[in-house]
Subunit: 326 residues, 2 copies
């Protein structure tokens, strides 16, 4: 990487190494699956058939090292919103409406103010999503977490009513891609972002951002629940860790890829700032960040709402790259 | 505490401080609850009414600083078993059979061997519980977790068939308490235990344990799923953080307490060793550890199986202490 700018792997996060390990444990995981487990649908959530009809959708998520920015800024409510909305969006891609959420909060020494702010954020986002905060675990683990540090994970369960589950096989070349705008970085790529802004005070106001860096970085993850309920979509990709390159193919069936027009949406300024300061290659940017599109929907040409932001289309997958952005 | 031996609070874990904070956020949490959320039943799990009848039970758990012992011993499969069985037991107290589980694994830098061992343990315990490993989140968080450190949380969902939910109001003074033996410390009190054995090599064989200390400490958490399915119980307390004093009252209705006969069960040797080495007061021991009883069931006198280990009875709660062990 010498002299070549920053990358996510050089920032200490190696997604490919993880995927290699995952391949090794997949048979173990599959051996726990009975016929109630639905595979290949809603790749951002696990699906389980209910005996009385319909399905449960579930997802587990974390907020990554965005937590380090929240700690530095002493601002934790947004982190609570982040974890819920991240989970809500994951199961929404399977057509699920959230029913309940549980959290895992672990820290070295419980700070009542931090914990209260996080729970406030969680409950605000739960109420917005019509989702019960049904339980959680709070762990004091001196020796694992440094003083002031904490970690937060979330777990969500939703229901997909009978007949509302999408079948990815209905996606065809020629379907259009609709981009739903993100509110910023959401919760991904923060190990890289923190390297990019190393030594920069969070109070610094970059003119292109028009507000303090800390506020920009901590802007909470958007929920797409309402939009997904109002558009007739065939597939949905939640653009999280791995960026557009890593997540868009997950909602497409074998043999299909996507072509996106780079000028078809407005990239928020934070991404250009991160790119410039880190001298980060374009491939790395689109393979790490949402780049302004927090959710991408696959929609039949005849079903595209007039106000929708069309960012590309589904194409037959002939090239070596499944997603081409040009 | 000076000269007075060790306590859990002095070891860095303050359960009372946590309970004070929890009181403050309870109204926020309650505001997220619709009428589907069932309260006051199965206190170790959250309960959610399904539209078609029956209930979902859910729980989130961690394994605490037992993870530090696993890291020191380079032995992680048992930790995977621990997290699943902890969750399985929690929802079993609500009469639920597990249906799926998700994990959250966070580390500074993914170690493929550690991760694989943890997943092996998780899948072994999931298969035993008839539970699908439906998903999970794996997070690399350099800067939050030290090299070699990790944390693990688990989320479980189970189903309580219609008519099988217990009503705590059916518990009466005179009901008997049946103790189900633990396999050792399970996953609780490890911040204290690690202080007690500070500087002692995990390979050390204490004669009363008859095996290396590391093996004893890492013995996995037992699952009580089968036993709970074969006994007609009215209430069940999973003895985890907070020990017998903290957990047994949770399954009893207002106005009732419990009296346990201290010589009615055999305390495994590890507890006496911890007590002696740490010069820990009895109240602290029974308020931190399971003391050999991983699960305590409330059973009608007429329903006690012949082979059951009766350890006490339900009594009217007149004294200041709800649980008396003498």
């Amino acid at each position: 990487m010498a002299g070549e700018g920053l990358s996510y792997a050089a920032a200490g996060v190696d997604i490919e190494a993880y995927e290699r390990v995952l391949e090794r444990v997949k048979p173990l995981i599959a051996a726990t699956h009975g016929e109630e487990v639905v595979r290949g649908v809603g790749p951002f959530a696990g699906l389980y058939a209910l005996p009385g009809g319909g399905h449960l959708a579930a997802s587990a998520d974390g907020v990554g090292t965005k937590i380090k920015v929240a700690i530095a800024a002493s601002s934790h409510q947004g982190i609570g919103v982040d974890i819920v909305n991240h989970c809500v969006n994951d199961i929404a891609t399977a057509g699920a409406r959230p029913v309940f959420f549980l959290d895992y909060f672990a820290t070295g020494k419980l700070d009542p103010q931090v914990f209260t702010q996080v729970i406030e954020g969680i409950t605000i986002a739960c109420r917005e999503a019509g989702c019960a905060l049904l339980g959680g675990e709070t762990a004091e683990m001196p020796g694992v977490y440094a003083l002031g540090d904490y970690d937060l994970a979330g777990f969500i369960v939703g229901m997909v009513p009978p007949g509302l589950m999408r079948d990815p096989k209905e996606i065809r070349a020629g379907d259009l891609l609709i981009g739903l705008p993100s509110s910023g970085l959401h919760t991904n790529g923060f190990s890289l972002v923190r390297k990019v802004f190393e030594g920069v005070p969070l109070s610094r106001v970059y003119s292109e951002l028009g507000r303090p860096l800390g506020e920009e970085l901590l802007e909470p993850h958007r929920s797409y629940l309402q939009e997904l309920g109002s558009i007739a979509w065939k597939g949905a990709a939640h653009i999280t860790g791995g960026g557009i390159y890593g997540n868009l193919p997950r909602c497409l069936p074998e043999g299909l890829g996507a072509r996106l027009g780079r000028r078809s949406w407005v990239e928020p300024s934070i991404f250009e700032l991160v790119r410039r300061r880190g001298r980060i290659a374009d491939d790395e940017m689109f393979g790490t960040f949402n780049m302004g599109l927090g959710m991408i929907l696959v929609v039949d040409r005849d079903e595209v709402p007039r106000s929708a932001q069309v960012v590309g289309e589904v194409v037959a997958h002939k090239t070596s790259e499944r997603v081409v952005i040009s």
